[in-house]
Amino acid sequence: MYRLALNMLFGDRAKLAMLLVGLSFSALLMAQQSSVFFGIMSWTYTPMVNIRSAVWVSDPLVEQVNDAQPMRDTDVTRVRSVDGVAWAAPLHTSILQARLPNGNFKLISLVGIDSDTFAGAPAVLTVGRIEDLRLPNTVLIDEWGANLLGRPETLADGTVRQRPLGVGDTFELNDTEARIVGVCRVKRAFTGGPFVYTTYDRAKAYTAGVRRTLSYVLVEPRPGVAPADLCARIEAETGLKAWTSDTDLWSWGERSLAKSTFWWFWRNTGIPFSFGTAVLLGLFVGIAISGQTFYSFVLENLRYFAAIKAMGAGNGVLLRMLLLQALAAGLLGFGLGVGMAQGIGRAMIEKGMPPFVMYPQVLVATLVLVLGISLCSALIGMAKVARVDPASVFRA
């Protein structure tokens, strides 16, 4: 009977198409919006990904990584004195305006790293050497920023194109020259500006007038010392706040700065509400379209269900037939919707925005919701089938 149930469903192409439109649109909306949501939220703790350090130490008032509270330079020494610390290095982060040669201004994220250890330096340099940061007035810029801050140039054929910044190009930060000596590959940030790396001391010069420039202390534990344990020791001995750097959404620990950042944005911005609304919309649209379509599919087939009932099929058999039809439609709709979401996501990733992170958990949740929609639709139809009188077949 169950294969016949599927044949009944697949034989009605128009209804099936309508059903799949509803379910796949719902799956697309839920998966795509959730993935953009997680992508945007992953941008909120981008510095944790780009600046690699096992332990981050901050002012006790810090709640999220983008809102560093300035500390005294002597705090680096205090942290170094804690048992279990292998080394500690200063880090500066701030948002500055870069003045381009054409007079335009662009916001950038300035990162000042320790010039001795280069702790916190980007992992990938596509052009240049990190050691060149020790030269006067030098910076590294990320690939995206190199394109963003690029300048127009006229080619031999007269066409004008945007030429990315490269080694040797300059711009100004607070009226101080910044000369590019390398281009790095890092993850984009929520704040929008490109990352510009320089040394900690030169960052002080670029932020002239700011009394305290120490944003974080980057710490490496001694071998055998767990980062979380070291955090507890640092907090106990210095009164500062210490964080672990785990950025995996699904396994981060209690002391993770990324986690704290994620939940800070959750609580203090409209991002979850906005995307949650879109996901709910997807859910309701799915329920409305597929529920209505499946119900009309059941209504159109009611006399046949009544005939099957008259022939001796019980309500249990008919319920299982409907559930199977709903399950098949749900799986197909899920596959189509998630496939489309992946396609859109890939196109987004190539363009660079908006960010798109499709976790397996998003897929599982979407699958559960789409199947839930399908099964609800089947149950609505089942209420009708269960009540249909087999004697009604004699009245048609």
């Binding site: 294969r3 016949l4 009944m8 008259a310 001796g312 058999v317 087999p390």
Partner: protein, 239 residues
């Protein structure tokens, strides 16, 4: 001693609605069908033919009276027991065929077997064999929509008989067909359903097929008015 091959209905009442809106479809109806016969239920619209058919098919429960079908008292059976009874013993030919349009002809015929739990391969073979008998060999994979009305009713006959039921119920089997096709369909019902232990009950308005009956039970106002052993004696075409 109940006869496992016959139908006996005694003093059956069936009404619809309540209070002043109550309508009596059957009033103290008695009916009997013998094994091996094709009996027709005739009468004007609203006389209770379809209700009587539904009661003896176990798709409708009588308010009062005794309903004994194939040796089994149906009054007092639960819905699940009635469903199981229909599954095992009944075949149906409907007025509007009720073939599922999205299934093939073969799949439509297989439905009663699959409902009984027969394996798909066996059901396919039995459906194919019966379709050949009704002259539709080679059309097994067509959809019902591609067949003529007569061909669709032949498919319905194959579906009704594929599981070898002991009671075949035909509700206006020729009303959607032209005269010649209706005659051929009745010939087929009579020929294929003829069996010493099978009862065929046909509800019809179509006087042109009365001659196919062994007996005719004439209904009026919810009860059997008379039963004719010779179908030619009935006064048509008022029915």
């Amino acid at each position: 001693m109940p006869d496992p091959t016959s139908i006996r209905i005694r003093g059956v009442d069936k009404s619809f609605g309540a209070g002043e809106a109550r309508v009596w479809a059957l009033k103290q109806a008695d009916f009997e069908a013998r094994p091996g016969e094709l009996i027709m239920l005739v009468g004007p619209s609203g006389c209770g033919k379809t209700t009587l058919l539904s009661v003896l098919a176990g798709t409708l429960t009588a308010d009062a009276g005794e309903v004994e079908v194939l040796g089994r008292r149906l009054d007092g059976l639960s819905q699940a027991e009635l469903t199981a009874f229909r599954r095992a013993n009944l075949g149906f030919v409907f007025q509007s065929f009720n073939l599922i349009p999205t299934l093939t002809v073969r799949e439509n015929v297989m439905v009663p077997l699959l409902v009984q739990g027969v394996a798909r391969e066996e059901a396919e073979a039995r459906a194919g064999a019966l379709l050949a008998k009704v002259g539709l060999g080679g059309r097994e994979d067509d959809r019902p929509g591609g067949l003529s009305g007569g061909q669709q009713q032949r498919v319905a006959i194959a579906r009704a008989l594929v599981h070898d039921p002991r009671l075949l119920i035909c509700d206006e089997p020729t009303s959607a067909l032209d005269k010649d096709t209706g005659q051929r369909v009745m010939e087929m019902i009579r020929e294929l359903s003829r069996s010493p232990d099978r009862v065929v009950v046909v509800v019809t308005h179509d006087h042109r097929i009365f001659r196919f009956a062994d007996r005719i039970a004439e209904m009026e106002d919810g009860r059997i008015r008379r039963v004719l052993d010779d179908p030619s004696l009935i006064d048509s075409p008022s029915h």
